[in-house]
Each structure stands twice: as C-alpha cells, then as structure tokens.
Subunit: 334 residues, 2 copies
C-alpha cells in the first residue's frame, strides 16, 4: 500500500474577494446613516453609491474575511492558497496583487463585465469600532468550477467563511470542497462569519456540525448564542463542545476560549496602546490560532497566538498585517 | 468705482491627480530594483506593471502633491478648489471621492478611455523614507479648457506644482492660470516639486521668478541648490530672497527656513514618536505654512504650522491627514 502524498499547502481558503474602503467617522454619522454599529450589512450597488458619497476620505486595503486570515497565516510562515472571485477591473487587480504579494497562491480568473469587484465600506468610529457595509459584486459569482478536488486535497486544512454561504453558486462550490476535503482525509475549519448569516443558514450549519464535517469551528460570543440558541455562554460552549473537535470562541475585549476534547484554554485580550480599527480582529485571531494548530502547538499556545495576531491588526487601519507578524508573535510568545 | 468681489476660495491648486500605492519594502529591494532612493521617478505603463509585481501588499490612498496640500489646507479650515485630470475608472472614482469628501471643490470631468488614472508606486523603507515611482496616465492630459479665468479669479491664492510643468497640455493650462491670477490681482504660490523637474525647466522657472510671477515659493534644500546653482545653502537663500516676496525652504529632519523681505524665521522639525512614511511631508508643510500665511499669521507662526502639519503626515502611511488636523495644530501652537 502506498503512502498518500503529504499536502503541499497548509491551508486553502474559500472566501469573498473584497477591497475594504476604510474611513474615520464621527459616532453620530452611524446613526444618521442608519447603519448597524459594529456589524456587517450587505448593500446593493445603489446603497454603495449613496453610502460612499456620505463617507469621508478613505483608504483602500484588500480585505475579505478568509483572505485576511490567509494573509495572517502566510505572514506567520504557512503555505496558503485562496479561492475567490474578483472582476476584471482595477480593484480586482489590487486584490489579486495584494494576495499574491503576501505569498498566497491565487489563480481564479478575473470575471469579465459587471458587476465590479466587491468592496466593503467601513466606517471607523473614534473608539476603533468598525461598521461594515458590503457590496458583494463579482464575489458572489464564484463558480464551482473554480476549484477542483486535487486543489482541495493538496491542503492540510480547508478554511471556509460563512459569508460566502449566502449566494447559491459559491455555496455549491463550498459543499463540493467539503466533500473533496473529507474524501482526501483533510481537516475543515469554518467560521459562520456573522449572526445574520446564521439566521439564514442555521439548519445548514447545524447539519454540517452534527454531521461531523467541521474539525475547527471559530465563532464569536453572539454567533455561539445564535448557533446554539443558548443565551448563556457556558451553556453554548457545552452544547457545541461534543460536536466539534476544536471550538474557538472570541469575546472581543474579554479575550477568547478554546475547547478540544477535555481540554479548555482561555486567553485575555492582548493589550494594545490604542485600538485604531477593529476590522479583521476575528480574522487574524483565526490566523494565529490556526497557525499554532497546524504546527502542533498546545491549545493554550495556539490561543495566545490568536490573541497576539488580533492585537496587531487592531493597532492600525485595515485587516492585513503591517509588521513582520512572525517576529511580532515570536517576541510576545517568548 | 466698484470694489472687486472678494475671492470665494482661499486656494485653488492645479496638480496631478494620483492614487498612491504604498507598500513597506526592505532596504535591499530599492537597490535590487534600481530605484532612486528617496526620489521620484516617472515610469511608463510597462515599468508600472513590472514594479507593481515586485511590490509587497499595498494600501491605496489618494495622493498628488498639490492635492495633498489642499487636503491639509481644507482640514485646517481653508476653502479650496482643485484642478486635475482623472480617468473614468475605479481609481479615478476613488481620487474624486476623497478630494470631495475632504471638502475641496473638484469639477474636472473624468477622461474616457486610456490611459488610466495616475498612480504612484511608493516603496517605504524601514526608516520611513519613501521612494516614489509615478505613472502619470490620465493626469498628463489636463486640458487648458479645464479651468477658466473666473475660477482662478475666485481664489485668493493660485497654487501650482512643478510636477505638472513637464507635460505640454497642463503646462499651457498653468501658464493661462498664472496670467488669469495676475490679471485678477491674486497671489501665486509655486513648488518646483523635484530636482529633475528643475533640470528640465530651469529656464521657465527662473523666468517666472525673475518676472515677479511667484509670490510664495516652496522648495527643499536640493531644489534650492538646483534653482540657484548655488551649492551653499545661505548663498542659495541670498540669491532667491530678493526675487520672491516669501521663500520657504524645507530641510527634512533639519527643519525649515522662511524669508520675507527683511524677516527670517527658522523652525526645527517637529518631533514625532516614529517616522512611519515621509510621503507628503513637503506637501503638508506647504499646507500648514500657506494656511498661516493666508490667515495673516506671522512668518514664525506660519513656519511652525508647516512643521506641525508635516509631523502629522509622516506619523502614518499616506499623504492625506488622518486626524483632526486643525485640533492637532491648535494644540501644538498653544
């Protein structure tokens, strides 16, 4: 009997390919515009035009939840690949450049014609909180053909973001990827991304979890409650614990908890001088944890690495690491 | 005899409409790519493609020298207008959004078809020094019709950047603007922008200066030497002093000097915690000084305001102010 070929990549992720458009904003503007403070709202092209007109001077930085997590993983030294859909336009070129420049394999062809590349209009209030408004554009049109089974089999972990569960075509692509990863004996990591995604797809997500399809589940405290219908945090943890081998729940400024079998680890939030912009905090927490996990670190250490990566990303605008993240983590783990 | 109508704007500027693409870069890459460390180099579309491919993950922030100066002036409370050319593309939309969101009037129609909106590929080394490589694209095609005499007469100061003296069409537009400003009794402020621009257009610039067309001249130390052919700093100052009513020379970390009639003011560089990215330091120095100047501040105070604005811009990536610049200056002037 021949040994199976070891996977070439550490993590392959399927997610939205988004350019973040990030502007400072006074607290009052969030209310004036009727935005969902601290949340993520999907908007159409008309809403995007109107909101952009109401926005202050901005900076454009590549984003997308799973893509941000990969950028963190790659900066830490993991070998990664990304699957997502951009349009054949300038913002698509920017996204493609940035993800490849981060050392991540990305080969999905840009999609011709309308709609344009996805953008997320992010209003950052003086407390550093981000309020996101996403026009998904081309990102929704990821075809199942964009990934093949060999590509999925070629990575130790398949990472999926719930945001992309919403549109039909990428959902089919993700279902196909899950089956391919299972068949190849690979692990599957998943984040439901947002409470509103859970509201729309709770049955799907619970079916994946109950069916043992998820090896590592990332969520935040409200998402845990939404998934389990348990208002009590510990009751929520207890409900999911037997169903996923690794469960990681982030609690914002209150740190995070990880459960795996009979082990439980907790970490406080890593202190930062100033919270500039919380965009990507969860994404980079996942990056740090997952890196520790695939490198065989203890549950405690993986959790600390998540907290450290999250602290880097909230210290500046945007959800892509700005410093030498590997050195940043190594210094703080020492 | 009727009184002339007071100008509606404080400053109108003509300049390149550029999106900055800013990435961190190790020192060695500057040499490997054969770039001009700390300088600005013009590149064509092919060079832009190759350099972008060699660049790390980046952030996109509106730029353009005179446009940055206006962003600073507007943030301080001045009423401003901008004249420059973008293409009808996504980066053109970004530039247009950002300048209007800064409260600056900008009404030049986007130009259809190729070339695309200008971009400047900026490599930032660990010391915060920026090395700029500009693909001017649509910015070169600013037609003289983009501005009319009434628009120029409507601003107390006409501000011109030398960068735009290079291409023929905008040069004609600037000559027309100078004549209109003179006819309306407005002041003209000018920066030659870069030594290589002076090398190409020294005769033009000296003719403007000798002809008494420039009321406020901004340059840095190497540009002063290039303009005057005087290697000695004081000799350079002495050569220009009689020819321009206000002369402002920046000296990087060594501060700046301003001369006006028999007055001389000097300022040290404003201390900063960390120089992140020097992009826009001169532009924002000009903004602070010019704001003080149009508001009737003393030469000393205007110079200090310049140094304070420059210190804000080098504390973060990009050449557009990130904080409440008026409050930032007020606090440090107190």
């Amino acid at each position: 009997m021949t040994q199976p070929t070891p996977p070439r990549l550490d993590v392959i992720a399927i997610g939205n390919a988004i350019i973040d458009v990030i502007a400072n904003c006074p607290d009052a503007l969030i209310d004036d515009l009727g935005l969902s403070r601290g949340g993520m709202m999907l908007i159409d092209a008309d809403q995007a035009r109107d909101l952009y007109a109401a926005m202050g001077p901005a900076r454009e930085i590549s984003g997308g939840s799973a893509a941000n997590t990969l950028a963190g993983l790659a900066a830490l030294g993991a070998k990664c690949g990304f699957v997502g859909q951009v349009a054949d336009d300038q913002l698509g070129e920017v996204f493609t450049h940035d993800i490849r420049a981060a050392g991540i394999a990305f080969d999905v062809a840009a999609r011709a014609g309308d709609p344009p590349t996805a953008r997320c209009l992010i209003f950052v209030t003086p407390d550093g909180q981000r309020t996101m408004n996403t026009f998904l554009g081309a990102s929704h049109y990821l075809p199942a053909e964009a990934l093949d089974d060999a590509m999925i089999a070629d990575a130790a972990v398949l990472y999926l973001e719930g945001y992309l569960w919403d549109p039909e075509e990428p959902r089919a692509a993700m279902r196909k990827a899950i089956a391919a990863a299972r068949a190849a004996g690979r692990k599957i990591a998943f984040t439901p991304s947002e409470c509103f995604v859970i509201e729309r797809h709770r049955a799907d997500f619970l079916s994946l979890i109950e069916g043992g399809e998820i090896d590592v589940l990332f969520c935040n405290e409200p998402e845990l409650a939404a998934l389990t219908s348990e208002a009590d945090f510990e009751a929520g943890l207890a409900a999911l614990r037997p169903k996923v081998p690794v469960l990681v729940v982030t609690r914002g400024a209150d740190g995070a908890v990880a459960l795996s079998g009979d082990k439980r680890a907790e970490v406080a939030a890593q202190p930062v001088d100033k919270v500039v912009d919380t965009t990507g905090a969860g994404d980079l927490f996942a990056a740090g944890f997952l890196y520790g996990h695939v490198r065989g670190k203890s549950l405690d250490d993986a959790l600390r690495m998540g907290a450290i990566c999250a602290s880097e990303i909230i210290s500046h605008y945007g959800a892509r690491p700005e410093c030498d993240l590997a050195a940043f983590v190594a210094q703080r783990m020492a």
